[in-house]
Structure formats: structure tokens, C-alpha cells
Symmetry: C2
Subunit: 436 residues, 2 copies
């Protein structure tokens, strides 16, 4: 082995950390608390040369007095005495992008937790890094503390990947499971989440599925050897999910999750981040609160499920520092598992693979109402697997339908025809049932 035996014989690995929010401070704490452990496992000491953040005066929960301070992250990124630039500022333009590109140009390895940056500029970054002979690592960018990038890129490297799925936004899963357990409407729980600090400054990043979509696009690139194509992710947030849907789905044995699915089909690469029904008894269905879960399906291994904390100081810093230890150990890989130049440009699938759907609608108390709905579905080529009608005191009755496998186009077509029947009140809700 290239002598990784004694920390004494190899020079320390020197970090420059840009961004001293929760994750940055978490990384600093690990370097300080686990100096011996990191040295033993890395075969060399891991040290911090300098740090950078917007506000130097802010009180932070760690002693930074031993590190140099850079106001400009780009200046930090190119310091001669920094081996690895650790980017924890966030944002896919501006300082994050500039400093990462500067670090690469200066021949530094990069560790980042920045999913947006990779989702938007992954190809450019990978090409630059590989041309310059440096590594860009980002375990913390997807599913926080869960070592999913490693599991997919290395652990399943001998598999043709079939499908990658995941609940990768803890805030959305918190909101959905809290709505269910407390019987509260979306708006109330959304406000709770905001007050608890669970939401991004732009909450649509969370509840609109964008953050989770960024993560899915990164996993898809690795899994299928394609260029990151976040723009091709079909995004749908959780804002339209009602407590009624959660309860009715539960009655039918399902739970609603904001589920990301990426799969390579005969029609191209399918990437979706949408609310789906999954069986309540499945690992995904059983997932509570802010926990994340990623499901990897390979042709040899079958199904691997990874579960853990998707955010927070400790878990995210754990992932950041795992990347640092890998670099200290000398493990080096192309950014997305194969050389950037070999990543194919994916053809986005124009339609999602067929699936069963959950349909909820309210029928007016008119003779033959149900028959009329069934006729519309039949004309759209949709057959009904299960149906449940709820008795109501009023003149309107909620009806639930679980269809056999059909296409999203057929569902949309049917929904468009329903108003003309004159028996449906309000807007029907259609949610995909994912086979997990």
C-alpha cells in the first residue's frame, strides 16, 4: 500500500472552510474533537488553515481563533496553504460557484454540501476538476448524513442501476407526517415548520420540491452515467396535499410522501419529484418526521434501503468530513463516478412510466353520479381497481378510486372530462401510486 501506515510520514491535509453556518461549524467541531481519530483513519493529520464567512463578528459555537480569516471565499480557495477547499456557503451562483471554480483552477480538491450548485453546474464543475486533476466530493449534498453518494458510486458500482428513489427533503416529510399525526391542515403545519426554522428562506425550495429535485438529479447522473439534468426533473410540491388525502390514502393502506424517482426507461430518463402514495407497510411508507430515505435498485443487488438524518449540524458535517477523510486517504474518483466526458446527455422521458393512481373527488348527490364517473374513466382507458364512497350528511359525497395501471396522460384526460358530467364538485385530486 502507498504507505498510509503512519500519520508522521505524511504531511497534514489542510482545509479551508468557507461558510460558517450550522454545517461549517459542525465540520470545525469534528476536526477539533476528533483530531486523533481523523489522523488514525486518514493516515495523516487533518487541520484547518483558514475559514471564511460573511460576518466575522457573529458569535459562533466554536473556537476559531486558531485559524486565519479570509473575507473573500475566492481568496480562501486559492491559498497556497490550503489543500482542500470546503464550500459550505450554499447558493448556485455567486461566491459558492466562483470559489469552487477558483479552487479547481488552483489545483485544490473540493468538498461541498451544495446540491443546487451541482444540480445547475455539475457538468462544468466535473469537467474542470477532471481537466485539472482534482476531486470534487459532495456526500453531504444528498440526504445529509446518509452515505448515499458513496453507496451508489462505489458500493453499487458493479450494478446496472434500475431505479433510484428517495424521500430527501426532511421538512416535507415532517410536514406530511405531522399533518397526519396531529390532524392539522397543511397551512397550519407549514407555519409551525417555519417557526421551528425548518424551512429555507425561500420555502418553495422545500415544499415545492426544488431542493429534493436537486438531489434527485445528482443521484440520477451517477446511477445512469448521464449529465446532471435538473431542468428535466418533473417537480410537484406538497402544497396541494390535504389532510383528507392523507387520511383517505391511509384508509386504503397508503401514505403520501414527496417521493423522488429516477429511472432509465425505453422512453428515456425519467426524473420525478412529486407527491406519491406508497404502501404504508413499506420502508418508505413507514418513514416518520424529518428522516430521509433513499432506495437504490440494482440488477444484481436488488433493493438497498438507506435511512438516516437528512439535515442538521452533526449529520451533515459527518458527511462533509467523510469526504475529507477519503481525500486524506487518497481515494479519488471522477465526480459522477465515470469521467465527465463520458457522461451521456440524457433524453428525458416524455411521460412517466404507467402506474396505478389514487383519485379523490366529491360527487353531487345525483342519481347515476358514480356511473357517469366510471364511464368517463372507461372512455379514457382507465380501469378501476378499488373504489370507496364515504357517506356524508350533506349532498356531496367524497369518493376514492384506486385505478389499475394507466398513464398520467389518461388520468389528465379523464379529469378534464369530469366537469362535463355535472356530477363532480370541485377539483379532483390525482396522485401516483409508486410501486416500492
Amino acid at each position: 500500500m502507498p504507505s498510509p501506515t503512519s500519520p508522521a510520514v505524511r504531511p497534514p491535509l489542510r482545509l479551508g472552510i468557507a461558510g460558517l453556518g450550522t454545517v461549517g461549524i459542525g465540520a470545525v467541531k469534528i476536526v477539533q474533537r476528533h483530531a486523533d481519530l481523523l489522523a488514525a483513519r486518514s493516515g495523516r493529520a487533518v487541520t484547518i488553515t483558514a475559514v471564511s464567512a460573511r460576518d466575522r463578528t457573529r458569535n459562533r459555537d466554536a473556537d476559531l481563533s486558531g485559524y486565519e480569516w479570509e473575507t473573500d471565499p475566492v481568496a480562501l480557495a486559492v491559498r497556497e496553504d490550503v489543500d482542500v477547499f470546503v464550500e459550505l456557503m450554499g447558493g448556485h451562483e455567486g461566491p459558492a460557484r466562483d470559489s469552487v471554480m477558483a479552487a479547481i483552477a488552483a489545483g485544490k480538491d473540493v468538498v461541498t454540501a451544495n446540491k443546487a450548485l451541482l444540480a445547475h453546474h455539475g457538468q462544468e464543475i466535473a469537467e474542470a476538476a477532471e481537466a485539472r486533476g482534482v476531486s470534487v466530493r459532495y456526500e453531504a449534498a444528498v440526504a445529509g448524513g446518509i452515505p448515499v453518494i458513496k453507496a451508489l458510486t462505489e458500493g453499487l458500482a458493479a450494478n446496472g442501476l434500475r431505479r433510484v428513489m428517495g424521500v430527501m427533503n426532511g421538512t416535507c416529510n415532517y410536514i406530511l407526517t405531522r399533518m397526519e399525526s396531529a390532524g392539522l391542515p397543511y397551512e397550519t403545519v407549514f407555519e409551525e415548520a417555519r417557526q421551528l426554522g425548518y424551512l429555507e428562506a425561500d420555502p418553495n425550495l422545500d415544499v415545492g420540491g426544488i431542493d429534493a429535485g436537486h438531489k434527485l438529479s445528482i443521484l440520477a447522473a451517477i446511477a445512469f452515467g448521464t449529465r446532471v439534468s435538473f431542468d428535466a426533473v418533473a417537480l410537484e410540491g406538497i402544497g396541494q396535499i390535504s389532510i383528507d388525502d392523507i387520511r383517505r390514502a391511509g384508509d386504503m393502506g397508503y401514505r403520501i410522501k414527496l417521493l423522488g424517482v429516477a429511472q432509465m426507461t425505453g422512453r428515456g430518463l425519467e426524473q420525478r419529484m412529486t407527491p406519491c402514495l406508497v404502501p404504508a407497510s413499506s420502508p418508505l411508507g413507514q418513514l416518520e418526521g424529518g428522516t430521509n430515505m433513499v432506495v437504490l435498485e440494482g440488477d444484481s443487488v436488488g433493493q438497498i434501503v438507506l435511512r438516516g438524518p437528512g439535515a442538521g449540524e452533526g449529520p451533515t458535517a459527518s458527511a462533509v468530513m467523510a469526504d475529507v477523510v477519503d481525500l486524506a486517504r487518497g481515494l479519488r474518483l471522477p465526480t459522477f463516478g465515470i469521467p465527465a466526458a463520458e457522461l451521456a446527455t440524457p433524453i428525458p422521458a416524455q411521460a412517466a412510466a404507467p402506474a396505478s393512481y389514487y383519485l379523490r373527488m366529491v360527487l353531487l348527490d345525483k342519481p347515476g353520479a358514480l356511473a357517469k364517473v366510471a364511464t368517463v374513466l372507461g372512455e379514457a382507458g382507465i380501469s378501476i381497481s378499488r373504489m370507496r364512497q364515504y357517506g356524508h350528511a350533506s349532498s356531496e359525497a367524497p369518493v376514492l378510486i384506486v385505478t389499475h395501471k394507466t398513464t398520467r396522460d389518461a388520468i389528465l384526460f379523464a379529469i378534464a372530462q369530469l366537469p362535463a358530467t355535472g356530477v363532480v364538485a370541485g377539483e379532483p385530486v390525482a396522485l401516483r401510486i409508486e410501486e416500492v
Copy 2:
């Protein structure tokens, strides 16, 4: 990066595969089916030079005509045209050990699925490999297709590990969950499992917890930086678990699993592979059939749960070939994550950490019977958390007790005193309740 960009510029990685059972053939199939994928991900071609098995004439489910044949695995291990020796024969003495040591001495990297070999000779192998500058990798040895060695050694490298747990013998979990779902006694399901080919030739390796204990001892070595010490694993099999216990535990909200637990405590390294009760609603409690699950707990990351197939051709070969791809990519680590010379000799904990216990006994229908039992428990310092008495037509009544946290010694002391009360029929059953 050290130019992993083009398969053309790096020579192929040449394998010698010893052992052509299920896993060996599975590995051959992956090399044949995924030549392009392996080359793209490894940055070089992966080829097979030669294979070895006891019986050349046996009909195998793969075309081996392109490979040289070695009758002697040691001869295969030292061939000049082999870069990586893949040991898939099994057994911790004889050909497996001899050929692995020969491969190391000849400067070959080694990939093995052999948990017994590492549990018994891990230190010797690690020292030899590191002295010779070669790698020994064994992802397939623990939990089949789940990339748990990688998750622990690399993914959680920045964590102080607190506890490692797992259901790591699929056959035992199959037997326990099948007993529950079919309402069948242990002996019947054991026989079923034998006929289905789920059991090792020596079934005690499975149901006695030995195989799972091997795996636990390997995980403990990595997690706590200690020499593998399989002899210090407290082993208890599932043979004494009755369908009654499974049902009663279920009534109290628990399921029974053959659970491995390793943790470093103030009293030393604790390693147990024993039947335990776990909450039915926990990921471990929800695990069905032959699936494996490993739970890793680190001081930064919190709890990570990995779930997947623990055996079988595809999953195990997936893990073997992941190790091969790692070697092809040039990833090299000390065998147990830190240099073998730095692995500490663990002090085995003399007693398991305190826990709640499940006690089942049958009381004779005598006045004050329950009071007498409660008195014995009280005198042993055991307090009762919950109790349930089952009405019976006969003169004997099953009683279940869940204790507050206590020690195993206290439980054993109390059980020893119970016969003298004259109110207990038969042997009481005591099972640990693990907090997961």
C-alpha cells in the same frame, strides 16, 4: 487525478476467482454481462484470468471456457497473470486461509466474502497484507449486498462510533418471521428452511448465531479500532424461541430478532449476538424474511440504517465486484480502516449494559403466586414495568413481565431463585429488550 480517464491507457485488472459456487458464478456473470460498465466505472477493463473449484466437471450456470483452470487455489492465488485473488470458497482453515495468505505473500490484492476467515484470522491477515502493501477487501462478508463495510469504514469515518447493531443472518430472520406469520413452531420452520436450502451444512452456524457473530466481530473491529475478537462475542441462538414468546412479545409491542450489538462501554467492548426484543414499530422490528439490516450509530451522524438482501447470488456478487471496482479504481485502505498495528486489543466487557428484560413464566394456580414472584424479583433489585397474566382453563397461567432496566446478572439471579417459590412451572424465559 491520476489519469483514470481512459480505459485504454491503463492495463486491465486481472482476477483469479477461487470457488465457483453461487457467489463465484455470480461474480463471473457480472464480469461478463457488465464489461463495459465495469470498465467505465473503473477506468480500466476488469478481466478474469483463471478460476478454481474442487470439481471441474460440475455443470455451472456460466461459460467458463475462456478462463484457465487451476485445481489448486494456492496455485491460482500466486499466478503472475493475476492481480486480484478473489476467494469465494469459504471456511476459516484449509484452502481458503492458505490461498489468501499465499496471495498476500505474492503481492496480490485479495477480495473475499469469507466472514469466518476474517473473524478467526483477521489480525494475521491484516498485518500480512499491510506489511506486503496489498489490500484485503471483504464487503460481501457482512450483510451480503448491503455496502455496510464501506458505510462504516468510509462513510462514517469522521464519527466516533457508539453502537453497531444488526440482523445479519437472513435464515434466522426468515425462521422467526415465518414462525410468526404461519403460527408454526420452531422445529417445523427449521425443517422447512432446511428443505429450502436456506441452512448451512452445519445449521448451528445459522441458528446458533455463529455466522452472524462472525459478521458482528468484523464490524466491531472497524467501528472501535480494535482487533477482531470473535471469541469474545456472547452467542445465543434462536433454538429456544417459542411461538408463544413471539406472540406474547407481539402483544406487548415487540418483535423478537437475532440481534447483534457491539458497543464500547466504560467496562470494555461489548459484543452480543442474541435473541432480543425490539419495538415492533422500529426499522429492526419491521424487518421481514431473509432481509438483513445494519444500524450504525455515530456521535455526529446519529443513527444510519441500512437494509437489503443479506445473501444470494446477485447481492453477494454485487458486493464482491464492488470491492474489485474499488481496487481497479486504486482505492486502498488498511484492512480494518486503521493500520493493523494500531488496532487495540479490546477488553471484553464482563457484563452487558443494563436493559429492560422480557420474562415469561408459567405460574401454578396457587394463592399468592404472583406476589411470590414479585418478591423474588424485588429481592434481586428488579422492578416491574409492565405485567400481563393470561387466563387459562388449566391450573397453570402464563405470565409476562417487562422489567425496568436491570442487569443480566440480576435476571439470572432471580431466575435461579424462582424454583424455590414452588409456584413456577417449567423454565422461565428471559430475553433482553434492546433500545433501538
